[in-house]
Amino acid sequence: MRLSFPYMGPTIVYAKLFELLGHDVVMPPKPNKEIIDLGVKYSPEFACFPFKVITGIYLKLMDKNLDALVTSGGHGPCRAGYYGEVHKKILQDLGYDVEIIVIDSPRDDYKYFYEIVKRLKGDSSWLKVAKVIKTVYELTRAMDQIEKKIEILRAYNDQGTINRIWIKAQEEFHQIQTTAEVKEIKNKYLNKLSEFEGSIPAENERLKIGIIGEIYVVLEKSINNQVEEKVNQFGFEVERSQYLADWIRENAFPFIGKDLEEIEKKGEEFIEIEIGGHAQGNIGHAIDFKQKGFDGIIHLKPFGCLPELVSQSVMDDLSEKYEIPVLSITIDEQTADANVLTRVEAFLDMIREKKYREVM
């Protein structure tokens, strides 16, 4: 099949998955002003921002002769789980004849899930599928591992130098075929990065910011105004609550790894039950960041995001109780780079000042 998918975070991972299964993969375009404008034009006004971005990406892909678009589903109550159905409707209404394959959890509709897996698997054997999944999962983990290092080192080194290493690593990861190659490239770049480790100051002088929020705007740099790099630029380290490997693990292999679950459970103090999206988990991560000695939290969310509005509502109380500064930034088609930069800068200045006074 000739297929494509929405652009989110390290797209290499999805490309690799379908490529290794023998499909003809068309890389989706990276969101930019043109795509966002296109998406906004053909999406409902109050749809969340990721929906609009994805509409734009799909429309941009329409002249690529695709057989199908593959996207993830969900069982709500976050709207993201219903994107696929509404996108189908919009594309159809505009006269495009392309299939959207929504990967829903097998728990929701087993037969449908099985049909889809069979189609995506194509001619590959089940053993091959298992191997591919393992490779891709290892690839995601390797990339996350390197990115976590980057997010620390960029705070103390020339941004360009570090970014170039990261881009190179991604290019090389794009070429891999086997799990062994993933390991090889991972080690190569971890070694390369360890040369910079001398730049990290003593523990009590390090300043750290945790980024939490809705997964799309947290993972996708092209729409969150490169918030991480902005924070790094002022000499602060960054860690996110969301990495792609975690998301894959939670959704595809829920039986392994309880550590994440434990962090997310901490959110129960403020949001008692699951309300959809990652709201409860994000609150848990905010508390966890504080307990790990982070100096501040940046909370990213798309305009009108249902679950994150609940977490933002309880955030003031959390900030007071746990004595950790929180900056909430709403992202949509009107977010201006300078606005984000100014707010981040003011926020970080305040944190630095506070720390400085504490030391004196």
């Binding site: 509709d109 039950i273 009108g304 249902l306 679950p307 609940v310 109380d317």
Partner: protein, 348 residues
């Protein structure tokens, strides 16, 4: 002995369930106190205490909670509606409402009762849905069960009248149980038929009557302040009004079963089923989607309905209300819509 006062905010699910709660508290010898009708002052207070980009219904309920707190109630009844159908839940903001209230209104003096509602149907009378309530007032299980059954039966009578074509607004101004009981009995025994079913409707200018389905949640369609009393305005213009609560559960079920994947939100699904039914119905001249600023589920539903309306060639209009909607803008839009429908009718 002075009865314990329990405040019920006149917002969100109140409009769907208030007869149930009034009866229940009466049976349990508790004194329900209902917040005032939404007003400028009440809404302003809610707006001040909530996030600017949150939807209007949440701003409204925060205003009502603050209003209750000023009435010296001992408790505020704010059940956490999670699910009233297998596999379908409520909007995240409704599920997380008690959390938002507890953590964003720290000055609240009344205690919040937030029993989690998990039911298989619209009937929420299960004892598991009222455990916190029973515990706080040490109500024995047997007594609780009895009260719940009575409340449920009373609510069913109200619900049946809605199915027959009465509007929630026909009841919701009443807040004492006695008056409500009388009204329900009166409607049940009366020969008069509800407005939505009447053949003859007299209009001021003897214009032709038009049938409009107003698709919106109970709390938007029935809050007369918030929606600028749109229903009465429509009635005055000679419109027979149809709403989702008049559509039989089986019809909604049938429409939903046609979807590969229904939506995740209880009342959004109900609106979808009802709207599809009305879009296909020849008796209906037009559909108005009445939605509130910032409503997430409606952004999805609205898009689907807009495309479907085109397919069925039915007149469709989206009317969005928010905390600063001007009255004249609503009147202008519905007048224009109705004029067009009448013109279309005459040309046929």
């Amino acid at each position: 002995m002075k009865k314990t006062k329990i405040g019920i905010p006149r917002a969100l699910l109140y409009y769907y369930y208030f007869p149930f709660w009034l009866k229940l508290f009466d049976e349990l010898s508790l004194e329900p106190v209902i917040s005032d009708n939404t007003s400028r002052k009440l809404l302003d207070k809610g707006v001040k205490k909530s996030l600017s980009e949150i939807c209007v219904p949440i701003k409204v309920i925060i205003g009502h909670v603050l209003n209750l707190d000023q009435k010296d109630v001992d408790y505020i009844f704010l059940p956490r509606f999670h699910s009233i159908r297998k596999g379908v839940v409520f909007c995240p903001k409704i599920i997380g409402l008690p959390d938002m209230i507890k953590h964003s209104l720290p000055g609240l003096e009344a205690e919040i009762i937030a029993d989690q509602i998990d039911s298989k149907s619209d009937d929420i009378a299960q004892i598991s849905n009222h455990q916190q309530l029973a515990e706080i007032f040490s109500i024995p299980k047997k007594e609780m069960k009895k009260a719940l059954t009575k409340a449920s039966n009373f609510w069913q009578r109200y619900r049946n009248l809605l199915y027959q074509g009465y509007l929630i607004n026909d009841f919701s101004r009443l807040e004492d149980l006695e008056g409500l009981e009388k009204l329900i009995s009166k409607f049940e025994n009366e020969k008069k038929i509800p407005q939505s079913q009447r053949k003859e409707i007299v209009t001021p200018g003897n214009e032709e009557v038009v049938d409009i389905a107003v698709i919106g949640y109970g709390y938007n369609v029935s809050d007369q302040y918030l929606n600028m009393d749109i229903l009465n305005k429509l009635k005055e213009m000679g419109v027979r009004i149809h709403t989702f609560s008049m559509v039989a559960a089986e019809i909604i079920e049938k429409e939903l079963s046609k979807l590969r994947k229904p939506m995740f939100w209880e009342f959004t699904n109900k609106l979808y089923g009802a709207a599809e039914h009305y879009l296909k119905n020849d008796q209906i001249d037009g559909v108005i989607h009445l939605t509130a600023f910032g409503c997430g589920p409606d952004s999805m539903l609205g898009q689907i309905l807009e495309i479907d309306a085109k397919e069925y060639d039915k007149a469709f209009m989206t009317l969005r209300i928010d905390e600063q909607t001007g009255e004249s803008h609503i009147i202008t839009r519905i007048e224009a819509f109705i004029d067009l429908l009448r013109l279309k009718k005459e040309n046929n």
